[in-house]
């Protein structure tokens, strides 16, 4: 073998050393998810609590977008036909009213909750024992006219006082319109609805009353305030410092723009935490 041949062989040897290095540059990882973290277990069961919450706005009062200081004596919502779902795929309001689920728990009964009560933090509607474990990531309910009690005849009933520049107005507002709501996963400080075996979790229907009156702590051009009725249109209806009106009356006494705002508010009054719900008027 000549010198050139030897050099050729040496070169081939070196090349053979480099080629594996080049091929090892891209190496897919072969990790797999930790199966212990997967909580799905349809055999085991736990406790699911259904709550309603009007938040601090309704319990402690707040200033409307138009400067009225509001306090509430009563804020009754009447709800029924409550259903909690382990939806799959996870429900999103973009889907409309079609919801697919693996598990659905139906809550019997109609509940009348005073969300203005300081103890309603939140108001416990129902406790469901022995529900299949899993993630209850959707909830539906209907806001219905109360059959009896202080809010009889109304699905939403508010009483309280409004004060602005020394003017005090006592108000009583009754909304008889019934509304169906469907919401997805709770959006808030913590996840809700995750029932582990032997554990307890809760779901919450959250009512945002700042959507009705607006929030004086936010800019007047804030989307929240732009969509809120405020209190001034109601104050304009006061007689001797008293406003007493129901939905039918308001449809005749509010101007068309204000009434349209009120109607729209009823469709985005209810949330799941901060997550919006789908809504439609019923009955």
């Amino acid at each position: 073998m000549g010198k050139v041949g030897l050099l050729f062989l040496v070169s081939l040897l070196l090349l053979a050393l480099f080629i594996p290095v080049g091929c090892a540059v891209e190496t897919p990882e072969n990790d797999s998810p930790d199966e212990d973290e997967i909580i799905e277990d349809s055999v085991e069961s736990g406790i699911l609590i259904i709550n309603a919450n009007g938040e601090e706005f309704i319990r402690e009062g707040f200033t409307s977008k138009d400067g009225w200081d509001l306090s509430f004596d009563q804020a009754y919502v009447t709800v029924g036909n409550i259903k909690a779902y382990q939806s799959d795929p996870p429900y999103d309001t973009d889907q409309g009213w079609d919801i697919e689920y693996n598990t659905m728990m139906e809550v019997s009964g109609i509940y009348n909750a005073n969300l203005a009560d300081p103890a309603s933090d939140p108001y416990q509607l129902a406790v469901l024992a022995d529900v299949p474990a899993g993630h209850y990531n959707a909830i539906s309910w209907q806001m219905l006219r109360a059959a009896d009690g202080p809010s009889e005849g109304y699905s939403l009933f508010l009483t309280g006082q409004a004060e602005k520049d020394g003017v005090i107005i006592d108000f009583t507002l009754g909304i008889e319109q019934e509304v169906a709501y469907l919401g997805g996963d709770y959006v808030g400080d913590e996840r809700k609805g995750i029932v582990t075996s032997g554990g307890t979790a809760d779901l919450e229907m959250t009512f945002h009353f700042d959507h009705l009156f607006g929030d004086g702590d936010e800019d007047i051009d804030d989307p929240l305030n732009l969509g809120a009725l405020g209190f001034e249109p109601l104050a304009a209806l006061a007689v001797d410092g008293v406003v007493q009106a129901d939905f039918a009356t308001l449809s005749e006494t509010l101007n068309s723009d204000h009434y349209a705002l009120l109607v729209a508010v009823l469709t985005h009054l209810a949330h799941v935490g901060e997550g919006h719900c789908l809504a439609e008027f019923i009955n």
């Binding site: 070196l14 990882e29 998810p33």
Partner: protein, 156 residues
Amino acid sequence: MLLNVQSAGCKKIILIMLLAYVLLFLNAGGVSAHGVELEFTERSTVEVTARYDSGDPMAGAQVAVFAPGSPAEPWLTGVCDSSGRFFFVPDPAIPGLWEVQVRLAGHGGLIRIELAEGNIEPSRSTGFSGLQILIMAAAVIWGFVGTALFYSRKRA
């Protein structure tokens, strides 16, 4: 005699190659105490944009990212930028349905992102393309060959 000269030349070549191997492996071992090793990894980035219904960006909104199979504890938390955008790189070892929750001043939403294993498969790279690596390898090899030829040349 000529044969002997050629054998001596071959011995030189082999010695040079051995020396080169030693140098090569010493370098590969990273014995320099002041050396710097830079690496990067290409991974798929998820960009989430959060806006109000009005179209205004949710600047400064709080973001919580939940990995598949762990819905209770955030895998990552952060804040949207001034355009309402938030970027994160999901762990490629956890394919499945990732959830991103965005909240600001009483407004919030949750979006789900299905990431298949193939979509987020990581790759390791030196930063050089395959062609660049081949050219560099060839240059190194022929450097050795040239050196060997120089020392094995016939002397006048």
